[in-house]
């Protein structure tokens, strides 16, 4: 079994000898006896076969009808209720089939009748020939209706995909004040179309796979031909083809299965809900992976710097965008370090704070039963519990949580003298800072590492924090995302790419695409885009 390079070395390799055999067996169980077998000629036989194979599931609808030729040949329409658009089905499939079209001399073979149907009767965009069972079931569950004709060992699938799906709405995770309001949806077709509407170029190419033995999930990659690195593309194709799993329910599955480094809290593949952000990345030579059933689109290769870039940065003036960039970096540092720095100062380095502040902190600590590190640890844990509860709970209970969380835990605990107010301030400020990151997944890294740093700070003070931060830096500089160094352009240093890191230079200054990313075509704008000075009089 093909596995992407460098990931899952642990278990996968050990069982490598066993996996293929198991996978084969699994395939046989699943598709036998129909795998590539042709359809039956008899309508009844086909119907029986489908019913048996689907366990007589009630949502499969069999609509029998008689065609208008002289022999009144029987036909059968099969579809899954809820996955098709009923009106389109009536208008474009059933009504035309009732029309008087076939020659009345009975000269047509069933096969020819199907052909005629396809060419002159069925008025939907996509019509497919189906000759084997595998394809039949695939199409059936994509929302096609399948039309059989008595006596033909072939069927026709017609696209009447419909049913309830969420429309294009504002993205829930990546908000923006300025910029497009649309977000991806669960439908991969909608999502690809959203991208096509951003980049109307013949160079926007797409490749599609069906991944997941049972779930049969469509997975596409999209990239701008000529900008995307062919090596990365090749690598990505290999990794995707190497996936062998029963189901892909969300892009997170793909992310975890193709990522370079599993044992890291830092995400090396970015997930985005905004089409404009994805389009921006495509234009920089990155590749998007779209998975049906989720609004989260993956971007490879992803580097740390990208997690601090919001699409809004490019829609606003560069000065405010630069300020916000820096704010985000600082906030990330705060989210990562503030509780541990507090614990280190209060526990080890009391001489480092101004006297007045020390006295205030000391006064607050007076009579608090727990040592500072335990206090910070408890409060961090409480915050994480609150946060998780708020995410999961039914929205009707929202007020309860905010009252209980804010009032009871925030105020009462301090008034009771169990926790010092300083810790509450530190924890709540940390919490706020952790939400500044425009991408959710980097915040997760900070959440986990915070506890690790807290432990180091409570045992070794600033020395401990220093050691852990150094370890993190080492780890970061070791990370790769599809061959791309994770903390590029800081290490290795690419001075030209620095224009889009801590600062967001004016657009007309960022003339080149990120280095080592765009193959060949590096220049993204002509020199003429630079604002002209007023001609001197």
């Amino acid at each position: 079994m093909l596995r992407p390079t460098g990931q899952g070395k642990g278990k996968a390799d050990k069982k490598a000898g066993k996996r293929p055999a198991k996978a084969e067996r699994h395939e046989q169980e699943q598709l036998d006896p129909f795998a590539d077998k042709p359809l039956f000629k008899s309508l009844t036989q086909n119907l029986e076969a489908i019913k048996r194979e689907l366990g007589e599931s009630q949502d499969i609808i069999f609509r029998e009808l008689l065609l208008t030729d002289v022999r009144r040949t029987k036909a059968l329409i099969v579809y899954v209720q809820g996955m098709i658009d009923d009106e389109r089905m009536n208008e474009f499939i059933i009504q035309p089939l009732h029309r008087d079209l076939f020659p009345q001399d009975g000269s047509l073979e069933p096969q020819e009748m199907l052909e005629l149907m396809k060419s002159s009767q069925l008025s939907t965009g996509i019509v497919t020939d189906i000759s084997d069972w595998k394809l039949l079931f695939q199409k059936l569950f994509m929302g096609y209706c399948i039309i059989f004709v008595e006596g033909a060992d072939q069927a026709v699938g017609a696209n009447v995909i419909g049913g309830a799906r969420r429309g294009v709405e504002e993205p829930k995770t990546e908000m923006a004040i300025r910029g497009p309001r649309e977000g991806f949806t669960e439908s991969i077709r909608t999502n690809t179309s959203l991208l096509r509407r951003k980049i109307r170029s013949p160079k926007l190419w797409m490749e599609q796979w069906t991944i997941g033995e049972i779930s049969q999930t469509p997975v596409s990659i999209m990239y701008v031909k000529g900008l995307a690195d062919e090596n990365v593309l090749k690598d990505l194709r290999e990794r995707l083809e190497g996936i062998n799993i029963d189901g892909i329910l969300e892009s997170g599955y793909i992310e975890e299965l193709i990522t370079d480094q599993v044992w890291s809290p830092f995400p090396t593949i970015m997930s985005i809900e905004r089409p404009d952000a994805v389009a921006g990345n495509l234009l920089e030579g990155r590749i998007a992976i779209l998975v049906d059933g989720t609004p989260f689109v993956l971007i490879v290769p992803s580097i740390l710097n990208m997690f601090f870039q919001a699409s809004e940065d490019y829609y606003q003036r560069f000065d405010i965008a630069t300020f916000l960039r820096m704010l985000r970096f600082v906030s990330f540092m705060i989210a990562l370090l503030m509780p541990s720095v507090y614990v280190a100062i209060v526990g080890y380095h009391q001489e480092m704070i101004p006297t007045q502040l020390l006295l205030k902190l000391a006064a607050q600590r007076e009579g608090v039963p727990f040592p500072a590190y335990l206090e910070a640890f408890i409060m961090e844990l409480v915050f994480e519990i609150l946060r998780e509860a708020v995410v999961r709970m039914p929205s009707a209970a929202g007020n309860t949580i905010s009252i209980v969380g804010g009032l009871v835990i925030g105020q009462s605990v301090v008034e009771a003298g169990i926790v010092s107010p300083a810790v509450v301030i530190v924890v709540s400020f940390t919490a706020i800072a952790s939400f500044v990151s425009p991408n959710y997944s980097l915040g997760i890294a900070a959440r986990l590492l915070r506890f690790f740093l807290l432990l180091a700070a409570s045992t070794l003070g600033f020395y401990g924090i220093g050691v852990v931060v150094l370890m993190l830096l080492l780890h970061l500089s070791n990370l790769r995302s599809f061959g791309m160094p994770y903390i590029k352009p800081f290490a290795p240093m690419f001075l030209k790419d620095m224009k889009d890191t801590l600062v967001r230079a004016p657009l007309w200054l960022m003339r080149e695409r990120p280095q080592k990313l765009a193959s060949g075509n590096r220049i993204r704008q002509s020199i003429e885009t630079e604002p002209r000075k007023e001609p001197e009089q």
Binding site: V346, G347, E351, A363
Partner: protein
């Protein structure tokens, strides 16, 4: 699943690898625990010492008596919340031959470990200062926990312990009041200037400079001053008052300067940021006041005809007229401003010269730091006279030059006095 058992049978090396990894992890986690919490100090187990006071041991058995002023954080907090707590600080006193000994002996009286990283002042009593202060600052220089930017003062006429036991109204923590008093005075009037432990240490280097420290006294009933009652009266029964600079010779207190001489010393050391100079009105009865806004002192050392150094002090002042209490001063005229500038220069020059006279004749102590200036500017002269600088210093000639630029007369022109 049969997978697991088979993997276990087949994959012995793998299991061993996992085992090794686990062992490594375990060792690392032990490291965290074994390193323990080295140097961990609980904030609520510390007695934060804000000031040290050194007196003579009244019983005479030991060399000194140490008083520390410790913050009581719970009371500081109570005050900020508007409640009536106890005093914000307390003091502990202990006898000993050395400071460190006394500090450690003090644990017989304190429930918390004393913590000296935030100590702000070292207060030395007059008697102790007369015996010599060099032995007292060694601990502060040597111990890494104690800062060297601690302000040092001498108590005038009272014990250091009394000074530390005085409650103050403007600052709930008395040491803050004492500390800020010097800073504020230096910035606004410059009679005194702050001296830090590290400054004292530096002075003992080349140049044979002598020390001058600010001094403080208590005005009012010092026994009443110990209680919180003190601060509930308007005005308080007893308050700390900044006195003039105390001059030392070889680390021993000799005498105090007069207020005028004290500010003269500030001019010499270029410590003046802003001050007021009172002048008699040029043409009529009454006074006017010039506020010095900028001041710079340069010291130049020239070689005299007899081979002895000649010290030149160049003072450049910028100021403005702030108060006119006499008629007839036409501040709109330039020549009037120039004249007032001249008068100011003369007044400042007088102050500086009186200080120099006092230091040279009566005190015979190089608190002006001229030895260092000679050492820096005329090292060959210094080498010759270094041995008997004590006898040479009183005879060193000096010249004071002062120029004053009057920039304005406030936001009013003529005085309303006619």
């Amino acid at each position: 699943m049969s997978d697991g058992s088979k993997a276990a049978n087949k994959g012995l090396p793998a299991v061993r690898l996992i085992g090794r990894k686990l062992l490594f992890l375990w060792l690392i986690s032990m490291l965290i625990l074994l390193s323990g919490c080295w140097d961990l100090r609980y904030l609520d187990k510390l007695g934060v010492v804000l000031a040290l006071g050194v007196d003579e041991d009244p019983t005479g058995n030991q060399k000194l008596q140490l008083t520390v002023q410790v913050v009581l954080p719970q009371n500081v907090a109570a005050e900020s919340k508007g409640g009536i707590g106890g005093t914000a600080v307390t003091t502990f006193t202990e006898n000993g031959d050395t400071i460190f000994e006394a500090i450690r002996k003090m644990t017989t009286k304190t429930s918390r470990r004393l913590f000296f990283s935030h100590t702000q002042m070292l207060i030395i009593s007059e008697q102790m200062a007369k015996k010599g202060i060099y032995p007292l600052v060694d601990l502060i220089e040597r111990n890494p926990d104690i800062r060297t930017d601690i302000s040092v003062v001498v108590t005038r006429g009272v014990r250091a312990a009394d000074m530390l036991q005085l409650t103050t109204q403007m600052e709930s923590i008395p040491v803050n009041q004492l500390h800020e008093m010097i800073e504020v005075n230096q910035v606004a009037y410059a009679m005194d200037y702050a001296m830090l432990v590290k400054d004292i240490t530096r002075m003992t280097g080349e140049g044979k400079q002598q020390i001058a420290l600010p001094s403080m006294r208590i005005s009012g009933d010092k026994i009443m001053g110990h209680s919180n009652e003190n601060v509930n009266n308007i005005p308080a029964n007893a308050i700390p008052v900044l006195s003039t600079m105390a001059v030392f010779r070889d680390g021993k207190l000799i005498d105090y300067l007069t207020p005028k001489e004290s500010r003269g010393l500030s001019w010499i050391h270029d410590k003046v940021k802003s001050t007021v100079v009172k002048l008699a009105c040029p043409k009529s009865e009454g006074e006017l006041v010039v506020e010095v806004q900028e001041s710079a002192t340069d010291i130049k050392v020239k070689k005299g005809k007899d081979g002895m150094p000649v010290i030149e002090l160049h003072l450049r002042l910028t100021g403005g007229i702030q108060e006119i209490m006499c008629p007839g001063v036409e501040v709109s005229k330039e020549e009037v401003l120039l004249e007032i500038g001249e008068l100011t220069s003369q007044a400042v020059k007088d102050e500086v010269e009186s200080t120099i006279r006092r230091l040279q004749t009566k005190m015979r102590s190089d608190a002006a730091g001229w030895g260092k200036e000679v050492y820096l500017h005329q090292p060959e002269i210094w080498r010759r006279i270094e041995g008997d600088w004590e006898t040479v210093f009183p005879k060193v000639k000096s010249q004071v030059f002062c120029t004053t630029i009057i920039m304005g007369s406030g936001i009013r022109g003529e005085s309303i006095m006619k």
